[in-house]
């Protein structure tokens, strides 16, 4: 299968380069991919995510650029923003390519930005995903086609949340490799709302990477809603580097997903950083979601927080692996990790692995994990007050899941998520 992708690369080399001219990065990516191949189940980090279904199909490189239908916006009620970028099957919509503001903000498709300001993009490309950690990261480096690029200069605060939507709807086996880059210079601040979705008939496999760079005292918030239908397979890797005093907050709401993996890597490179990673997932049927968070405390005086909650029904499979690494000189670190899950059906199963690796002594690190069922006392309380069984269940479960988003300031995003969770739960 590796040979197949080698051929695919050779065949499409020119095509790829004409879109995103990366040269050396692509070659290195292919080399790393051939060397590492697909991660197998025996690898510690891939135990909960089988790559077999990816390996058995011969994915073609996606070249269909379809215009976005405008009715798509009707799904996003309340989240519309003046700064919107729309991706359809991995390609940026025709109407929107690049937007430059007077204050120096650059926002657009990475393809367009690379063509206009190659040095700006190449300065950051593969700088957070330095080593192509696994086969899929390497594959993305080799086959990257499009994605979005956001640059916020010093002291600039973007008032409106930036909206990025991604929708997959291809009925053949196609490969999508998006690369997103977010750069916040010192004291810059910005919020990104990402809506990712797919249609029932979709068969595409998306393997995306987001690289984020936070300057001193920069503030980045990413609020992400993932709602995948059909046989979509998605691997979303993000690599974030934080300079001192910066604040990174990432909130991911996952509503179903045939096969979805979120890899979140955060490296705290300056003092007084804060990384806050939260996620809630609601799964049923044959959904499979694997969340992995790696936080590297490379400097002293940083705080990190991970809070994930899952609700599992049907035959779904959920997994959470949290990893906190506190290096030897990273004194006065506070790291907190929490993963709570409710299992509703007999066939669902869940793995949770909250790991701590600590080499400094002046630290406060703790983790908690729990797996259980619905609190029967709480159910009784609500039933006694006249609520139906279904409604009480829905109320308790959505309160349980929404707790992870309590710090999200974007109330509209919260409303949308809450509604999606409610719909998903009531459907069951």
């Amino acid at each position: 299968m590796i040979d197949y992708y080698k051929e695919l690369f050779e065949k499409n080399k020119e095509n790829l380069e004409s879109g995103l001219q990366l040269e050396q990065i692509r070659q290195q990516g292919l080399k790393d991919f051939v060397r590492m191949g697909f991660p197998g189940n025996k690898m510690e980090k891939w135990k909960n995510f089988s790559t077999k279904s990816i390996q058995k199909n011969r994915y073609e490189l996606n070249s269909i650029e379809e215009r976005t239908k405008l009715d798509f916006f009707s799904k996003l009620s309340g989240l519309e923003s003046p700064n919107t970028i729309i991706f359809n099957n991995g390609h940026c919509s025709y109407d929107f390519q690049i937007e430059e503001s007077k204050n120096g903000v650059i926002f657009g498709s990475i393809k367009a930005v690379l063509a206009k300001y190659p040095e700006k993009v190449l300065k950051y490309f593969n700088k957070a995903n330095k080593q192509n950690l696994n086969g899929f990261n390497a594959m993305n480096s080799a086959f990257a086609q499009d994605g979005f690029f956001l640059y916020v200069p010093e002291n600039i605060k973007i008032d409106f949340p930036v909206l990025v939507t991604q929708n997959y709807n291809i009925d053949s086996y196609q490969l999508i490799n998006n690369r997103n880059i977010i750069v916040l210079e010192d004291d810059a601040s910005c919020e990104i709302v990402q809506i990712e979705s797919s249609e029932v008939g979709n068969k595409a496999f998306a393997n995306n990477i987001t690289e984020s760079f936070l300057g001193q005292n920069a503030q980045l918030t990413i609020n992400k809603l993932q709602k995948y239908l059909g046989n979509t397979i998605v691997i979303e890797s993000s690599f974030t580097k934080q300079k001192s005093g910066s604040n990174y907050s990432c909130n991911i709401a996952t509503i179903g997903g045939n096969k979805l993996r979120n890899d979140i890597h955060v490296k705290l490179e300056g003092t007084n950083c804060f990384a806050n990673i939260n996620g809630g997932f609601v799964l049923d049927e044959n959904n499979e979601v694997d969340n992995n968070v790696y936080i590297d405390h490379a400097t002293p005086d940083c705080d990190s927080n991970q809070n994930f909650k899952g609700i599992l029904d049907g035959k779904s499979k959920g997994a959470f692996t949290g990893y906190v690494l506190v290096r030897q000189d990273s004194q006065r670190t506070n790291a907190y990790q929490s993963n709570n899950n409710i299992v509703l059906s007999e066939k669902a199963n869940i793995s949770t692995n909250p790991f701590l690796e600590i080499y400094a002594d002046d630290v406060k690190c703790s983790h908690g994990a729990s797996i259980g069922r619905l609190d029967q006392n709480a159910m009784f309380y609500l039933r006694a007050r006249g609520l139906s069984e279904e409604k009480s269940k829905e109320l308790l479960l959505s309160a349980f899941a929404m707790e992870v988003f309590k710090d999200v300031t974007n109330t509209k995003f919260k409303e949308v998520v809450s509604k999606e969770i409610e719909n998903k739960l009531l459907k069951d």
Binding site: S351, P354, E357
Partner: protein, 482 residues
Amino acid sequence: MEEVKNKVIDELSNKDYEFGFTTDIEMELAPKGLNEDIVRFISEKKGEPQWMLDYRLKAYRHWLTLKMPKWGHLDIPKIDYQDLSYFAAPKNMPKYESLDEVDPELLDTFNKLGIPLEEQKRLTGIAVDAVFDSVSVKTTFQETLKELDIIFCSMSDAIKDHPDLVKKYIGSVVPYTDNYFASLNAAVFSDGSFCYIPKGARCPVELSTYFRINTAGTGQFERTLIIADEGAYVSYLEGCTAPQRDENQLHAAVVEIIAEKDAEVKYSTVQNWYPGDKDGKGGIYNFVTKRAICKGNGSKVSWTQVETGSAITWKYPSTILKGDDTIAEFYSVAVTNNHQQADTGSKMIHLGKNSKSTIVSKGISLGKSQNTYRGMVKFGKNAHNSRNHSQCDSLLMGDKCGAHTFPYIKVENNTGIVEHEATTSKIADDQLNYLKQRGLGEEQAVSLLVNGYAKEVLKQLPMEFAAEATKLLSISMEGSVG
């Protein structure tokens, strides 16, 4: 304050190993190296029946197909398995009728170790099976046990005298195919303890085994088998020491525990193998497979371990909760100092309904050591209404050491409840301050806090052992407190 703390840490780091003497006794050694002939040699030396030899050979052939596992959070220098001697026995070791016949030097060794071999220890009510290097030396208290039909003897005696029991149970919990070291052990195990508690019997005394590696360049491979038949109860203790040597020695034991219906087994161990010197030279590699099965309904197994020794400890006392309404417990204190490394924890595999398990693990890291908790809790499809609570805390003293936690939780049943908590921190300044305000010295305060931290585990130990363990901890932790 930093100064005093550093002083405490320094003194702890410099603390000498108390059991580091060697005993000069003529030993019979197997030639170095490992091959089928060695396996046959060991079997023959022990006068074993053919089925045992076949079992060993099967295990050896399987071992050849395996590779040394690498997944531990450990830095293990390459071990040359051909450079070890797999059998060392004190020469001229006929069976002794009474203690008077035992080599006085050997007795002296046991006295130094504080092993209650003498009859006077009858008062303390402990039956002891002492394994010196690879051979069981003397089992005390036989008569009392005989009255209750309890069998407590060395493994080699059991193979001769109770072949049916051994045949039935050996390898039933830890098969020779289980892992690299279990396979090696099955091929070359030299001796160990065997214990069988018949139906309904309650063992009136604590059964105890002491292990000691004495000869240089040997590996010790004991095999312990504890069987508690229906409704039986036994409390079993194990202690280990070794002399100070420059080179590393390998210890790869296997412990199997079987608890039938309504039986209860309490297994406690104080592991104090030689940990190597300040610079990490020498010390024992302690790669042990310990597993229990709660086979019958209503059975209970409890593990308690105090780990202070060994250069590298790599072990996970585990329990398979097969029966319904079964209970398993795991209590552990692991102290690592200097260059010691420990990767230890427990596995709880829930298969039966209403099974309950508890894990309490306390790690203390000092010096340049690495202390890892690795555990697994798994609820199978039929483990309805099961419950687990795990608590693993780590305490760091010194900025060169590491404390790591790797819990794995897997649940395939929706009626179970799993809770896991862990914390990693140093001794809190406000707690120290509180104690100091009340008139305690800095060192006293540190030691009080550390003892309080480990108390939950120590109180699980039987009286006899608790005293020793507290002493051991105080040697490690309170050495400078006066």
